[in-house]
């Protein structure tokens, strides 16, 4: 068991190093940083919405770039190893195919965690600065008002700022990205090229955000023809509900995430990750190299 973990760890480590040295990683992170910073300038257009816009754009950028990074980084792992024949020297060792896949998964996950931390720190710093400015502005505007009115306004400002739920939104974003890694590995396990995997995952990404609608339609709408229902069933069966992890909408609007809901969503994420990885390993185990 420990040697198995050792092999997975070794493959994860080399995967992480390989990805970290890709220039695309730095470009994506840079772009995300620029976008997050730009949200503070965009926010100035509407002074009443500063915090909301900052959060929306910040979280939206993190969501998008983490998802893109998950797909792009994972999609090129297997084709590169196959093309360079690195995979032969690795799998000729006593390395099980599932260890190889899990190593790749954790390697990319490590990269995403570091990217998320970097982007989150900046995003939270920008929100914190905006919150500070909003507090000063509020205190200025309500300088002559009764103290309880000022306190009420300040509570509103702080509620709109950074809080625990924002961190949970980021955690769910990471969960969604991990689901995308496992799904990309699943497609990559039988795909023959990088391009095919990325194209397929772009489609999966879009359809995944509509899965709940398709599922609802399939379950409750009987009037549609058999072909439509079969298509909707296929979407419901195989595609993940990516919209479930986009709770930032509600969180930013002030809705709170209960612990139970959080656990359910993390559980859903785990089911997706384990399910797609098992399918990926099953397919890859029978792949002829």
């Amino acid at each position: 068991m420990s040697s198995s973990l050792g092999r997975i760890g070794a493959i994860a480590r080399t995967t992480f190093i390989e990805l970290a040295r890709l220039r695309v990683f730095y470009v994506l992170v840079l772009f995300a940083l620029v976008l997050i910073i730009s949200s503070s300038f965009l926010a100035r257009i509407s002074f009443q919405q500063e915090l909301q816009v900052t959060k929306d754009i910040g979280l939206g950028a993190i969501n998008f770039f983490l998802s893109m990074l998950a797909i792009v980084a994972t999609a090129q792992l297997l084709p590169r190893d196959l093309e360079d024949r690195v995979i032969y020297s690795v799998l000729a060792k006593p390395v099980r195919r599932f260890e190889y896949m899990l190593g790749k998964f954790f390697g990319v996950l490590g990269l995403l965690i570091i990217s998320l931390v970097a982007m989150s720190i900046l995003c939270l710093a920008v929100i914190h600065l905006r919150e500070g400015a909003a507090v000063r502005e509020t205190m200025q505007q309500l300088a002559q008002s009764p103290s309880e009115e000022l306190d009420h306004a300040l509570v509103g400002v702080h509620q709109a700022g950074a809080n625990r739920d924002l961190v949970l939104a980021l955690l769910l974003t990471l969960t969604k990205a991990a689901v995308l890694i496992s799904l990309t590995l699943c497609i990559s396990s039988f795909a023959t090229s990088n391009i095919f995997t990325i194209t397929a995952m772009a489609m999966v990404y879009l359809v995944g955000h509509l899965e709940s609608i398709a599922r609802d339609f399939w379950l409750h709408q009987r009037a549609a023809g058999w072909l439509v229902r079969a298509f909707l069933a296929a979407v419901a069966f195989f595609f993940p509900d990516l919209q479930a992890f986009n709770l930032s909408d509600q969180i930013i609007a002030g809705g709170s995430l209960s612990n139970l809901m959080l656990l359910k969503l993390l559980g859903l994420g785990v089911i997706y990750i384990v399910g797609y990885l098992v399918i990926a390993i099953a397919i890859f185990s029978r792949r002829e190299l």
């Binding site: 493959i11 080399t14 020297s89 000729a92």
Partner: protein
């Protein structure tokens, strides 16, 4: 009777092609046995099935029919690979890792205990002549250096069987000679070696037995001296023979109803000449 190191039993490999076109039969009913401590050369033109055979032996692909046993154990078990080291043809390794990191990575994959890794890595780097390039990234290595690091990673875990696919490809004659010497020293230590190469002179020098594959079938197999011997001819190399002596020998041969097929000066090989000249040049 000792179990063969490698035993391929009625292995057939058929690659399906899409859209129901004619299937590719890469191997047809291959039977192969390699004894422990033997050096076996697998020869054949491109497309003969050599790579397929190696991959099946290594468990990288499965045969359509038949099986492979490594020291009596079915090779579908991953644990069997602890006894095998593999140098792929034209292999690249992770370019972003240094030579030492590459060997440590492969040591980890092979299950080599951590306490042995450091010394083993240093030992192998010295053996393959890469001690000074240990901390350079593989991306900066020449092809010959990559080949040598490949050999080192194949040996990292003291394998009982070494599978080498074109081990001296892209290596200069001096390096090639070193690899050959290494192969011979490994044989002396009891390592079984399966070698696939286009360089027939090299195969001739190191291998005990060879097998010749063509279109997925093993056409000829056996010990070199048996395969190469021309049955009814004998070679006699004489030093300091006078023309008179040679004339008398030819008369004796004719009188015995034998025939002198050829009379010529033996030649050294270009490789030997190259080595002799360059070694002298170094001095």
């Amino acid at each position: 009777m000792t179990e063969p190191a490698i035993r391929v039993i009625h292995a057939t490999k058929i690659f399906p092609t899409p859209f129901r076109r004619r299937r590719i039969v890469a191997l047809q009913d291959l039977n192969l046995e390699i004894a422990p401590g033997e050096i076996y050369g697998l020869l054949g033109p491109n497309g003969s099935g050599k790579s397929t055979t190696l991959k099946i032996i290594l468990g990288l692909i499965g045969p359509t029919r038949g099986s492979v046993r490594i020291f009596g154990r079915d090779n579908s078990s991953v644990a069997v690979r602890r006894d095998i080291g593999f140098l792929p043809e034209n292999a690249y390794f992770h370019k972003f890792l240094t030579g030492a990191e590459t060997l440590r990575f492969h040591a980890k994959l092979s299950g080599l205990p951590r306490r042995q890794t450091k010394s083993r890595v240093a030992e192998l780097l010295a053996t393959v002549g890469l001690a000074r390039a240990a901390d350079a990234r593989l991306g900066t290595y020449s092809k010959g250096m990559l080949q040598r690091i490949g050999l080192a990673q194949a040996l990292i875990h003291y394998p009982k069987i070494l599978v080498l696919d074109e081990p001296t490809a892209a290596v200069d004659p001096a390096g090639s000679r070193d690899i050959q010497n290494l192969i011979v020293s490994l044989k002396k230590r009891g390592t079984t070696i399966l070698l696939s190469s286009h360089l027939l002179t090299q195969v001739q020098e190191v291998c005990d037995r060879v097998g010749i594959l063509h279109r997925g079938k093993l056409l000829r197999e056996g010990h070199l001296e048996d395969l190469l011997a021309i049955e009814n001819q004998t070679e006699l190399i004489v030093e300091n023979a006078t023309p008179d002596l040679l004339h008398r020998l030819e008369r004796e041969i004719a009188a015995a109803n034998a025939r002198v097929v050829a009379r010529r000066k033996p030649q050294t090989s270009l490789e030997q000449l190259f080595l002799k000249v360059t070694e002298t040049g170094d001095e």
